[in-house]
């Protein structure tokens, strides 16, 4: 079947009941998307499906025909990190890093929908991404800083 991932077509063979997380990791060697629980609880496998965050461990790959899949691999350009990635680095919002790809995807989806989310909106929207290292305050600060920077950039124009 044909999958569109990060804007590029991929022709892959998949089993009928295969999860998108398995297809990405095992067939396409796109190992940026992590699998923590494989049952919809931790958020490490978060990808964007038609720009909306979902748990790829619960998505059947066969249901993705004709849909736009975005993963962590498509977030940075060849020589520049995405602003959300940069903010995670500046705010030291990473400890072991296992949850980070999922956190970044959720944050990008949130900021694309709401340029300036409130603290409560950030907390609610990111609540489906667990961090076992407990970096929540720094993750929160990182997401908030991207929103604030975007507003400033707008004001300067």
């Amino acid at each position: 079947m044909l999958l569109t991932i990060n804007g590029r077509p991929h022709d892959v063979h998949v089993e009928p009941f295969e999860s998108l997380a398995s297809t990405l990791r095992e067939r396409l060697q796109m190992l940026g998307t992590k699998v923590g629980c494989d049952r919809g609880e931790c958020g490490t496998c978060t990808v964007l499906l038609d720009d909306v965050p979902v748990y790829s461990c619960l998505v059947l790959t066969r249901s993705c025909e004709g849909r736009r899949i975005r993963t962590i691999e498509g977030v940075a350009t060849a020589n520049e990190l995405h602003p959300v990635q940069r903010a995670f680095v500046t705010h030291d919002a990473v400890q072991c890093g296992y949850c980070t790809p999922g956190q970044v995807m959720s944050a990008i989806a949130l900021l694309e929908q709401h340029a300036l989310p409130s603290d409560d909106e950030i907390r609610r929207s990111m609540s489906g991404n667990l961090c076992r290292c407990g970096c929540y305050p720094k993750i929160h600060a990182a997401v908030k800083s991207v929103a604030a920077a975007a507003v400033e950039a707008n004001d300067d124009r």
Partner: protein
């Protein structure tokens, strides 16, 4: 074993497939079914995805509010008529799972899965919702209370498809509310309560209460409704509710705690619903 995945484009096609394929299961968001398949608790031979069927995802709020069974929890929560006219349902959707779960999961999946803790059920019960079921080429309707039969059990017969949930528009002056308590936000409820109240001055005209996670199915608490009155701060309603439920002890909470908690939630939900009806303030 031979197994396969199907994506019918219409309800007719889906019904025909289900009739022709034994050991097939319907799948919408997969947030319940995929977990069970992953754990090996369920091994369907075929999965019939209903996601391509456009008419299952529409929400029509012209007179009655008709929510397609395949509408995602996110789309239902974002619908302005649902927020305005069915606030207790919106509150239950906001409390359900995480953003990712709501983007994938559907309202029909929540009911068909028939968890005693299904969060959308108590509000839909107080709103007197009914369900529309497709059986081959025929349609049948049932009150939601007759659809939910037990843990994981519904009135659906083999091959039947839940098509829509239909909610009568609550009359002017109705207030409603939903509250739940869980161990953490991303866990199923220990107990949940929805209430709707229509008052005339201090006198009650119509009061409805339903609870989740404290009986084999989410259910209306008719005994509590019968004695509910704002003049005693809803105390008798709380006591009657504690009597009418059948809680169990499980990893989330003990039966005793669930009983205690339900009394408190009934009182709070009624207080909030009455306040929302605009006729009775919380801090009298």
């Amino acid at each position: 074993m031979r197994y396969s995945y199907h994506r019918p484009a219409s309800l007719d096609e889906a019904s025909d497939m289900a009739a022709a394929l034994p050991n097939a299961r319907f799948i919408q968001g997969g947030t319940d079914l995929m977990v069970r398949i992953g754990q090996g608790r369920e091994r369907p031979g075929h999965l019939i995805s209903l996601r391509r069927i456009g008419e299952l995802t529409t929400i029509d709020a012209n007179r009655e509010i008709r929510i397609g069974a395949g509408a995602t929890l996110s789309d239902t929560l974002a619908h302005p008529d649902i927020r305005r006219r069915l606030p207790a349902l919106a509150q239950s959707l906001a409390a359900l799972g995480s953003r990712q779960v709501r983007n994938m999961g559907t309202i029909g999946g929540n009911l068909c899965n028939a968890s005693p803790a299904a969060d959308t059920a108590p509000p839909l019960l107080v709103y007197d919702a009914r369900v529309e079921i497709r059986n081959g080429r025929a349609i049948r309707c049932l009150p939601l209370a007759e659809f939910l039969l037990g843990p994981g059990k519904t009135a659906l017969q083999a091959g039947e498809i839940l098509v829509a949930i239909v909610v009568p528009d609550p009359p002017e002056g109705t207030g409603s509310a939903f509250i739940r308590r869980g161990r953490v936000t991303m866990d199923l409820a220990i107990a949940s309560v929805a209430a709707s109240v229509r008052l005339n001055g201090g006198a009650s005209i119509a009061i409805r209460v339903a609870a989740g996670a404290v009986a084999p199915t989410p259910r209306r608490l008719t005994a509590a409704e019968a004695v509910a009155t704002p003049t005693d701060d809803w105390s008798r309603a709380a006591i009657a509710a504690r009597e009418q439920i059948e809680p169990i002890t499980d990893l989330r909470a003990s039966a005793e705690y669930r009983r205690h908690l339900t009394g408190i939630l009934v009182r709070r939900a009624l207080t909030m619903a009455a306040a929302a009806s605009g006729q009775w303030s919380i801090d009298r």
